[in-house]
Structures are given as structure tokens and as C-alpha cells.
Symmetry: C2
Subunit: 191 residues, 2 copies
Amino acid sequence: MSSRGRPVATSHAQIEAAAFRLFAERGFESVTMADIAAEVGVGRRTLFRYFESKNDIPWGQFASTLDGFRAILAETPDDVPLAEAVQRAVLAFNEYPADAYPPHRDRMRLILETPALQAHSVLRYAEWRAVIAEYVASRCGLLPTDTLPRTVGSVSLALAISAYEGWLAVPDSDLATLLDETMASLRGYLS
Amino acid sequence: MSSRGRPVATSHAQIEAAAFRLFAERGFESVTMADIAAEVGVGRRTLFRYFESKNDIPWGQFASTLDGFRAILAETPDDVPLAEAVQRAVLAFNEYPADAYPPHRDRMRLILETPALQAHSVLRYAEWRAVIAEYVASRCGLLPTDTLPRTVGSVSLALAISAYEGWLAVPDSDLATLLDETMASLRGYLS
DNA sequence: CACAGTAATGGCACTCGACGCCAAAAAGAT
DNA sequence: ATCTTTTTGGCGTCGAGTGCCATTACTGTG
């Protein structure tokens, strides 16, 4: 009952793979949606049914990973101090199996080093920040739009991006370690 | 010797004024560059010589205000603790004369509430963050790309935006107070 | 097997931002 | 009056993104 009508011609994964291949060859800016469509062997119009925009392709299925993020936070015992709970969740969210390492690195490098994608990221990150804000709000009996939850969301994001930048700059560095170091840096700065 | 050739047909200020008028009427997205050009009474092509992109119009002269920001930091005595020096500079940078209040508020509201501008802002903020990173680096004997300077830049920005969001949400609130409160929130969260 | 129902595809046309190119306009200088 | 300089603005082009709609390729039924 679910497989009626014309079958799909491609998939998110296939488009992503083709796109990354071309991005690696020619750079993000000089690859057009028409190029990607041709590479996949599908109509240009169809690409826009799989990804809202060219900028969204490097993000893959990010939105659906946010449920996992919410779950991680929800499972955290309430006796864990708030800041530690958030920090642990951020660490867990960014843990990837070893075999996903090079693709994840390529993806993050592309996102963090391409101006158009840096800009677009804000919109994607907004949902991520909201997940943190909602958690902080629920633990503190506040609204997600109150100062503390909003601020923790923004600052956590800033720290995570900062850590990722270090991770990309230093080969073979460990993201978890860098996240902790970045947090420690901030604590040192504020005291 | 400086005023040869055909005289200019408009100015940044005039374009900005016309653009804001239209944005207020119809919203940012539904105003085209052609609309603005017509409102100013100038060719569409000319607009792109005054502003790199439509997204840059709301930013006005931001880039040139960064020199002021640098100056504020440079003038801070070295015996002021680092975090306080940065916080003070951020406050000073965001102090506007009372008569510039409504336009500044409109500008910030537009920037912070329009998705396309939120995204574009990252690119503008990068220079702002760099100013802070350079200051922190010089005070600590580090490189601007090291973890601490970069992190302080990112976090300061996150706090400033968070404060601005509160400022826009609550009529008649004081930005300086909100900046301090946001910073206090963060300190409370981390301790 | 033919035929209805269904859902994805992809071509076409269009809007809009952005950019390169270049002739025309409008001044000052000689 | 002519030369030089500088800005203007029209034209053409590219690429992202969208609405529209006929076409395609399935599934299920009689």
C-alpha cells in the first residue's frame, strides 16, 4: 500500500554522493545544480524535491538527527549538573563511528570553509540551538525564549563550532578532547 | 583634482533610506533590487556598485565602524582584566546616541528577524569576531587563530546577539543592562 | 489483459540576484 | 572646443529557486 505510483528515481544518499564528488573536484561554487542532476542522471527539477536548496545538500539528513540529540538530553539523569548534562550531550551528539570519519570530516570542512555554507548554517543550527534551549528551559522551569536557555544554546553552539575549527586545523585531533578544551578555555577566561 | 568625471547619482545613505522605506512597507523578501533602484531614481546596475548585495544594504557602514571598535579596545588599559575589557568594549561599541535609537532598532530587528539576513550576518560578524580575537591574542601573547582568542570572539558574539534578541523582545529595555545580564547568566550557568 | 488510480518525474517558463561588458553621460582640465 | 576622467546604466548572461502540468511507471482491481 505504500509503494504505489511511479518509483523514485534517486535518493538523498545518491544525490549527496554525486554532489560531494563534484564539490571535491571543482569546488562548491562552481558546481551547478544542473551539473549534479546530470551526474545523478536525473532531472534538475527533481533535485529540488530532495533538497530545498543547493546549500542544504552538504547537510544531508541533519534535521532527522536532532531527534537523537533530543533523546540524548532526555535520557540524562536530572542529578547531573546542567552544564555537564549539556556538555555531555554535545559530545555524544558529535560521536561518529570510526568508519564514518573521513566523510564526516569532509562534510564539516566543506560547511565550515565555504562562505555560502557558513552563512546558510545559521538556519540549520537554529534548530540545534532550540533543542538545547528547550532542555535548559525544562530543567530550570523557564521558557525556551528566556535569557538563560537562549544564551546557553547560543554559547554551546559557539563552543562546538570553535572546537570543530580546531579539529579541522589539526590532523588526527580528537573532537571530544577539543570540545572539553574549548569549554575549559571559556571557564578560564571568565574566572 | 578629486572631483573629475561624471558626478555620483546617489549615496549609500540615500539608497539605505529608500530601501528601509520599502522594506517597512512590503517586507525584505518582496522588495526587489529593481524596486529600490526605481525608488532611488537610479539604474539597477548602479545599486550593485554601492552595495555588494541586497543583503548588505541593511548593514550600511558596518565595516567602517569596526575601526572604532578596534580603537576602543586599543585604548583600554592593560590592567583591566581581559574579560572585563572585552565586555566594556562590546558595550561601548553598541552605544548609540539617543536620536539614532529608532533607526538602529529597526535595522537590528530587520537583520535579526529576516532569515536571509540572519544567514548573511555570519559573514559580516566574522570581521567583528576577528577584532576581538586579535585583541585577546595580543593581550595573551597568542595567535588570533588559537583556541582562546577564537573562542572568546565566538562566545562574545553569541552573547551580544542573545542580548539584542532580548532587547528587541522587550520594548524600552536597555541594551547595556541586557548585555550584562546575559554575561551574568552565562557565569551562573558555568559555576 | 485492459483499465483505473496513484505518485514521482522532468521539461518549460518565469522571477530575481548578481556580474561582465561597454557605450553614453557629465563633469573638470587644457 | 576638445581631451580626460569617472560614473552611470542598459544589455546580455548565468544560476538558484518555484509553479505548473503533461508524462511516466508503477500497483491493484475486474
